[in-house]
Symmetry: none
Subunit: 203 residues, 4 copies
């Protein structure tokens, strides 16, 4: 049992890397088993189908994301820093880039989309708790917190997902919009600017 679990974990890791770098649809079972050094039968011993494996890969990834987010939440940071920190930590392309600089979007669409939906459902409540703290502290002033959080997630995931290079103007507007959506004083989220510098020269 122990042994089988470890093996499975290993296969998920390998597949995750391949899915991210070449796309789920462009990664064949043959390629996975070759990379893993196992037989076809072994693959189907652990996974009922390629699609079910994708679900497990995503599940594994989400667990990791959730843990990271919770860690940020517990860290000694201001509420805006927590929110931004969590958002930054889930930008999928951050890790994807690490694995494969030449990431082509189209082949990743399916996985990207599946992850995005489930990730949002997972992260919205966590971020909402942080935002509620912000309201309590008088930093934010707004109702419908989960809906507002989701919007900020939508914006950030779309703007900063790596396929549109973001200009200073985009960042300014994003900061402005974030502050206003949460009812924060101008400047509250300004520190984002500093965080965003680095990856800019990619691509």
């Amino acid at each position: 049992m122990k042994k089988g679990e470890r093996r499975k974990r290993e296969l998920l890791q390998i597949a995750y890397g391949m899915f991210v770098s070449k796309g789920y649809e462009n990664t064949s079972v043959d390629e996975i088993i070759e990379a893993a050094g196992i037989a076809k039968g072994t693959y189907y011993y652990y996974f009922q189908s390629k699609e079910q494996m994708l679900e497990e890969v995503i599940g594994m990834m989400l667990e990791a994301e959730a843990e990271k987010a919770e860690a940020v939440l517990r860290a000694d940071l201001s509420v805006p820093e927590k929110i931004v920190g969590i958002i930054a930590s889930i930008q999928p392309e951050q890790q994807e880039r690490t694995i494969d600089e030449a990431l082509h979007r189209p082949e990743n669409l399916l996985m990207h989309d599946k992850i995005r939906g489930r990730l949002f459902d997972l992260i919205v409540p966590i971020l909402s708790r942080a935002a509620e703290d912000g309201v309590r502290e008088g930093l934010f002033d707004c109702d419908h917190i989960p809906e507002r959080i989701r919007m900020i997630l939508i914006l950030s995931s779309d703007l900063f997902d790596g396929h549109n290079p973001y200009t200073p103007a985009v960042i300014d507007v994003f900061i402005d919009a974030t502050e206003k959506i949460l009812g924060a004083r101008p400047g509250t989220m300004g520190f984002i600017r500093a965080l965003v510098r680095a990856p800019q020269d990619v691509q």
Copy 2:
């Protein structure tokens, strides 16, 4: 030449319908030619590849979208109405629904994504012109108009694409965010609420 063009147009229309209802990847060339009643060779006489055909399908669709948007722009409407009208007109799912009520997202991802990107690039300048009018009229107060417009597009396309049923809270927050992103007085975009009622009962 004239005749050939018409034929091609026809094929694009047929393919468009199939791509939208079954997804690009799930539509085989065989199915297209059968639906069109032509031979395999004829297909490849008109299109270099299936992918190139997709590009042409999208191009054709975008032309139509742009025309519709320009028409709204020329119409006798207030600036906020123009902006909302254009945004509403490009919700891809609006047309897709017409063609196939049971549209499943995953198979449409590739086309959807390709369309979205190019549609935004096309529509942002048009909407920006409208927004500039709004600024001139004192309705809006903001800089970086194209960036702000793009954000509003991102939000609306994600929130209202039909796979998340939108609650009143979502609409309220969207209206609030839109007003604040454009620097409009509260209530300026409130009329959106009325427009959004109808499709709600679809799902």
Copy 3:
């Protein structure tokens, strides 16, 4: 040893049910072990191969058939009744139907055929003994009894195996043929008609 034998018996029973309802070829070893709640290794501890298991399943079934036939032979019945009783008792579909009404023939062909051959070899001598009694009693008048018995078996197994609905004409002709093959007086086997009524409405 005792325990092992019982276990094996149990497995044969389970497999028999599955073979009959889904067909031998469509029943995988995986399905058998899951139904039996044992491990793969255990299966191959008891059986050298799936095919060998089939042989054992058939053997087990034949034993049961032979016992039933002998019981009918010992019963207090007229010779024609004995013969018809034994034939009726071996109609494989009779039991199969009990297990799975929706039995489709093609998947059962292999097993059906194997059983049929061995069943005939087993039952022909038994029936022949009954028929010899009939000759002795003056009911039948014929030579080559085993050959004649086999023909009657062939006819009945083909006509009444459930996939051809049998009409009254078929039954009449079968009765007539049976009587003539055995050299019996007309009417000797007429009682068959009554027996055959019931299953007719199955299909």
Copy 4:
């Protein structure tokens, strides 16, 4: 069109030979295309599936059988000779043997069974016409002709299908049964004995 049809015919012939000699299930598509010297795609250009090809193979074979039977019917023969001639002509094993002496039954079951059913449906009416002539001529005396014909077909196909060597006793009983089933005078079908001699030494 002409060319495609010929090609298809050719493939059916090749497949027929393979199905008969190795069994349908044991003949892979790969083997067929290799034997035919065509590409995988070509195979699926002509046939939707392997199973559908089987249907066509059988259809082709049945056409041939029917033609042969009709020819016998038109020939200048006595009614009993016609009937026996037709029955002899359809013994599948006759041709199968020609193609592959080492015919193993189990792998042929599916095809054999499918053919048998359709062949009977096809041949029963033809033989019935001949039998009716026999009645008219006073050679036979019976009702329910199609049912009786079918029984004779069942018997002959089972007795003479090559896997049970037929003894003189079997032949005698078959002749006797046939005569009685049709209400013919003893000796009417005796000529069968002569026909049956030859193939006996096979196997």
